[in-house]
Amino acid sequence: MFGIPMILINLVIAAVAAMIWLALNALVLVYCERKFAGHIQRRPGPFEVGPHGALQPLIDGLKLMSKQLLTPDNADGFLFWLAPILSMIPVMLLFMPIPYGPVLTGMEVNLGLLLILAFSSFNGLAVILAGWGSNNKWGVLGAARAVAQTVAYEIPLLLTVLSISFMTGTLNLSEITAQQAGFIWDWNIWKQPLAFLIFIVAMFGETNRAPFDLAEAESELTAGFHTEYSSMGFGLFFMAEYGYMVAMCSICSVLFLGGFYGPFPGIEGWWWMLVKTYALLFLMIWARWTFPRVRFDQLLNLNWKWLLPLATFNLLATALIMKL
């Protein structure tokens, strides 16, 4: 077709779809988060713009876009503005290899899991650049915390993912999903319950969400690494944060909850993926408004003294069982 390879067309469509999916999710999640927070604290949350405040995130987005882009004095302008872009772009790539439905996969990659894990660590780099480039003590402190945290929590995350790929023998997410077809007890969560729990906790740590949101602890660091960002600079970080949440929850549902397969055969479809992802996202929001922020030494102790040994043990046990 006009000499354009089909795969390229596929990729462009997938990239655009990923962007739309990301923006839509950010809007919906911001609204859900604020509503959820409100109702947990027994107030209505956003209420004035649109029916039950449904247009609030849209208006907030417009407000962010219409604000001035400020670069602080003595900030490293290049790094300062590179950071939000670097935080945003890998997120779109994360959605490519995730199978959202039987035919709804952006890009069939044999090493899909590896690709996701590699590109999700870009966020750490973006956060360092943001903290360092903004020439602000809170920025640097927040960035230092964020890096110590994401680097630490990546290890148990990788180990649990590795135990899944030991079991399934592949890094291709579509194949991992396909192996969980059938009834609800064919899902990986029953075969790897410990890995699932570790993955959930590491997911909170990896996405810098409460109770592990030390990188942007409002009470101590004003906003952490994005203190100096205004307008869409902040908006991009914000969207990237929600993007990582959605990506991590999608991966969790692919790895452990059977992806787009329903609880019994014959009803698979993208809606199952949506339901599972959003159930996990609601768990994240619920946890944010329930648990207080942990102290930094507690955060790292939890990781190095609990998650890492448990994940290693789980990996070794999986390897042993698979060998036998």
Partner: protein, 195 residues
């Protein structure tokens, strides 16, 4: 073995508290809201009576436009923020005939009874921008003539408006009492009785 129990078993058992926390917030999520959507709903007067707004004067039971105040200056002296200003009323200026009468009485060696100044204040203003709502004036008033208002919907758009003439306010309130102000259209929120 004890150390193992303390450092390994106990933390795992303690994870149960995470679920307890989630259960509590989940329960609150399902409960009805307790806030009031202001322009559409207002707080009912029963709950409004506990609101402590700015300081206001209390009128005499028989003459609500006249404050109980006796101009003793206790509130002004005790106010830590110096936000109250009180001007006492002067005694009525004697007419020339009265002065002559008094002078004649003094010559005769009789006791002169001059009319005293009225006790109620001539001017009583209150600068709400300075007030810290500590209530010291209310506690120290010997005539119980001061109280916190429940004026919750009061808005001022300039500093000048924050300087309230309390006597004028009392007069206004007295006329409102005889002719009640038009009712606010918004319906009072359904008061939720919390156990």
């Amino acid at each position: 073995m004890n150390a193992f129990r303390k450092n390994v078993i106990q933390p795992i058992l303690d994870c149960w508290s995470l679920l307890v926390g989630l259960k509590i917030t989940g329960k609150y999520f399902c409960k009805p809201l307790i806030t009031v959507h202001y322009p559409r709903e207002v707080i009912d007067s029963e709950n409004l009576s506990t609101y402590g707004g700015h300081v206001e004067l209390i009128g005499k039971p028989k003459d609500p436009a006249m404050p109980k105040c006796i101009s003793c200056m206790m509130c002004v002296t005790n106010c830590p923020s110096n936000c109250l200003t009180l001007v006492k009323q002067k005694a009525p200026k004697p007419t020339p005939e009265q002065e002559q009468e008094w002078a004649a009485a003094a010559e005769r060696g009789e006791k002169v009874v001059k009319p005293k100044a009225p006790k109620n204040p001539a001017k009583f203003t209150y600068d709400y921008t300075l007030c810290s709502l500590c209530g010291t004036c209310i506690e120290n008033c010997p005539a119980n003539s001061l109280q916190f208002s429940n004026n919750i919907y009061w808005v001022a758009t300039s500093r000048k408006e924050m300087n309230i003439d309390l006597l004028a306010r009392l007069k206004e309130q007295a006329t409102e009492l005889s002719a009640p102000a038009p009712k606010i259209e918004a319906k009072p929120a359904v008061a939720e009785k919390e156990a």
